[in-house]
């Protein structure tokens, strides 16, 4: 019986949290117009979430592309279709691996940074001080970070994909001897602009999700050191799960 009660309790708190996040989102969106009058803050945050994540995104993109090249070649070779490596790898990167891996990396690097920054401001009373000075902390602190993440994610996704394809090329053509001409021409023949758009849309949606979770967790963190730590952990976990769930739903819709 008490197990049932636990489940019901968990369910209830889950629903309450969803509601809280939705309300927080509305409050954030309501402040967007006013926040746009301070573009400097937003630029700072695009730098924070995007430019500072470049190294990790590019490195991982290169190696994911490389491993795609290896595995793809090995797999296609069994059917005698190594020439299709370009197509297969490009489509995999553009439609799935690019958006999803970038989102997970983003949640780990930028998401935690956002959550811990805001959480720390919460813990050191900076947010309360702002409220006291009649400055809405959502407008000043949360919204620029949310917009920054939202803009940075799709850009990071596209960069990841591009570097990834380069990585496939290095492994496939340079290392494994796939014919360069057929590599590129087959890719060109099979990949459509709509595929790239799909990947981009996923990037935007994932950016929305990861940024929202990060700023929410930071803003509602318990104002202690462990509270901030818990908030950053939860950011990564929840972002990852939501990204994968949304990925499935988006793929099902767009296919």
């Amino acid at each position: 019986m008490s197990l049932l009660r636990e489940i019901v309790e968990n369910l209830r708190s889950f629903v309450a949290t969803v509601g809280a996040v939705a309300l927080f989102l509305m409050r954030t969106l309501a402040q967007v117009p006013r926040a746009l009058t301070r573009p400097g803050l937003i630029i700072d945050q695009i730098h924070n979430a995007g430019a500072l994540s470049l190294v990790i995104i590019m490195t991982c993109g290169l190696f994911v592309g490389g491993v795609l090249g290896l595995q793809g070649y090995d797999l296609l070779q069994r059917f005698g279709s190594e020439d299709a490596l370009g197509t297969a790898a490009a489509l995999a990167l553009i439609k799935e691996l690019g958006p999803v891996v970038t989102a997970l990396l983003f949640a780990g690097r930028a998401g935690t940074a956002l959550a811990s920054e805001i959480g720390l401001m919460r813990a050191t009373d900076q947010l309360s001080a702002m409220e006291m000075m009649a400055v809405d902390p959502v407008r000043r602190v949360v919204v620029p970070r949310f917009i920054g993440g939202l803009i940075a994610m799709p850009l990071l996704t596209v960069i990841f994909i591009a570097i990834g394809i380069f990585g496939v090329q290095v492994v496939g053509v340079q290392l494994l001897g796939v014919d360069a001409a057929s590599f590129w021409s087959q890719m060109r023949a099979a990949v459509e602009v709509s595929d790239v758009m799909e990947g981009l849309i996923k990037g935007v949606v994932f950016g929305f999700v990861c940024s929202l979770i990060a700023v929410y967790e930071g803003y509602t963190a318990t104002p202690t050191a462990e509270g901030v730590g818990r908030a950053t952990t939860r950011t990564v976990v929840i972002s990852a799960v939501l990204v994968l769930i949304f990925n499935y739903m988006l793929t099902a819709v767009m296919l």
């Binding site: 301070r38 573009p39 803050l41 695009i46 730098h47 279709s81 596209v158 060109r188 990949v191 459509e192």
Partner: protein, 160 residues
């Protein structure tokens, strides 16, 4: 308002890099057709069997893609599949008596429409219909034909 030079610079570079990557993907990786100047006209053809032809499949002449299959629908009144094809305007000298066949690209490739030119002086225009069509080859029919021709041959041999 507070960002200093260095931050603005690196952010700008980041954004530019992102757009460069996007540009690279869209232009280098995808089919170039969408980037050729616009203008196209629609041509129709009716098939008894379209096989696995899908909207978006290529329409080609002499192996070169000149357009795309725009839509496929089933017309109950004539019991045929009606295929609308969008052909790029620059290819406006397709004779009205040309032949549209559904072909397969390679062994595992998708199906596309290949147009073989006829001899007429009149050319297809927007809304025209291609009269001469060849349906998709259905594997079962092929096999049946093959089996039938084998048994025919063995019958005729047996008669001798």
């Amino acid at each position: 308002m507070r960002s200093n030079r260095a931050v603005e610079l690196s952010t700008g570079l980041f954004v530019l890099l992102g757009f460069a990557a996007l540009f690279f993907l869209v232009t280098q990786i995808t089919n170039r057709e969408y980037l050729t100047n616009g203008g196209s006209y629609t041509v129709q053809a009716q098939f008894e069997n379209i096989g696995t032809l899908k909207p978006g499949a290529a329409v080609s002449m002499a192996g070169v893609t000149i357009g795309r299959v725009e839509s496929i629908r089933y017309d109950q009144s004539i019991y045929k599949a009606v295929v609308d094809m969008r052909i790029s305007s620059q290819f406006n000298r397709i004779p009205v008596d040309s032949d549209a066949s559904i072909m397969t690209a390679g062994l595992l490739g998708g199906q596309y429409i290949g147009i073989t030119p006829g001899g007429s002086e009149e050319y297809l225009a927007d809304g025209s219909r291609i009269e001469f069509v060849q349906d998709a080859l259905v594997l079962e029919n092929l096999i049946n034909q093959l089996v039938a021709s084998f048994s025919q041959r063995s019958d005729s041999k047996g008669d001798n």
